[in-house]
Symmetry: C2
Subunit: 218 residues, 2 copies
Amino acid sequence: MLTLYTYFRSSAAYRVRIALGLKGLPYASAPVHLVRDGGQQHSPAYQAINPQQLVPALTTEDGTVLTQSLAIMEYLDEAYPDRPALLPADALGRARVRALAQAVACEIHPLNNLRVLRYLMQELGTTEAQKTAWYQHWVCTGLDALEAMLASSGATGRFSHGDRPSLADCCLVPQMFNARRFGCPLENYPTIARIVAACEQLPAFQQAAPEQQPDAQA
Amino acid sequence: MLTLYTYFRSSAAYRVRIALGLKGLPYASAPVHLVRDGGQQHSPAYQAINPQQLVPALTTEDGTVLTQSLAIMEYLDEAYPDRPALLPADALGRARVRALAQAVACEIHPLNNLRVLRYLMQELGTTEAQKTAWYQHWVCTGLDALEAMLASSGATGRFSHGDRPSLADCCLVPQMFNARRFGCPLENYPTIARIVAACEQLPAFQQAAPEQQPDAQA
């Protein structure tokens, strides 16, 4: 059985939960609470699993620990090729899907992580308003680019790439969840909004949502 | 002919230059100066190539524009399978190499980008010392994790994964170049230092170095 170390509100864990759902792979959830106990990801027990002290991590069926959400999703696609594919078959299409995923995972999300927001407040003494402005600035900068990439390409379909959900959608939907949560202005992203709405009709996306997780709080 | 939109000191462009060298692929350089003219990456001409306003971008032989350094390197590996591989053949090995690469590309580098440092200074009014502390904090946090991942694994060899350079090394070497440039304390990373020294003996790494680029300034 696959085991996912996860936190309900972690955007990176959310991506992998969607991917597991799209592949139709059952898994056990091992919750790691990022706030409680000073952050359970910093515990010696979890550090032995993932020295990066980040979620997600995934234990494969043979007990190997994998880290980094994009690497985990690519592994699932390679290890279970008979399940629905998260990447298209052609090299150019794969490059496009990966670039869309990385436009979220390398450009937006790393700047708005819990640990980064904490550093802003605790080390740089930013105000709540400055923290929110920071958050919204990087979300909007990234979504401006993504909207342009999606709206200008004939490869965009019902989903980010064609008419089947992909790795790009696994990254996009959690990012939009965060954007809404932090009140980012989203009216300039009609293509993204349309794709996210299509994703949210699918059970894999619905079941991966933070509020559906066993560790979600009231 | 492949064309790489590059800036000599861009860490992400540096990764792709190494990958092109390891694959033995000739390419044309199209320099995009990230500082001059208010940042040439923001020009309408470059935005038409890459709406993300970031380097690198790569034009393939059929004229398709690819973006995001990790996606570009994976494309090169898939499109030129007869050249030396940047990823191992097995799914678990590929997942490990990708996670090592992403531990740089998703956890360290995005926080220390030029645009982020500018935001700190211009919008948050940080001092030079606070900016440096920020830079060093994220580099050390990331390298602590990477050193633990590399030192604890039997899969680490002369390079990050076994005895052949991989995607992980393409990301590690530019990150260490940046770490040195910003005076980060590096004495706690013996495994990383050993791997970087092995990489720097190879022509692909030497020729990709910032100071070797046509657009490098005196």
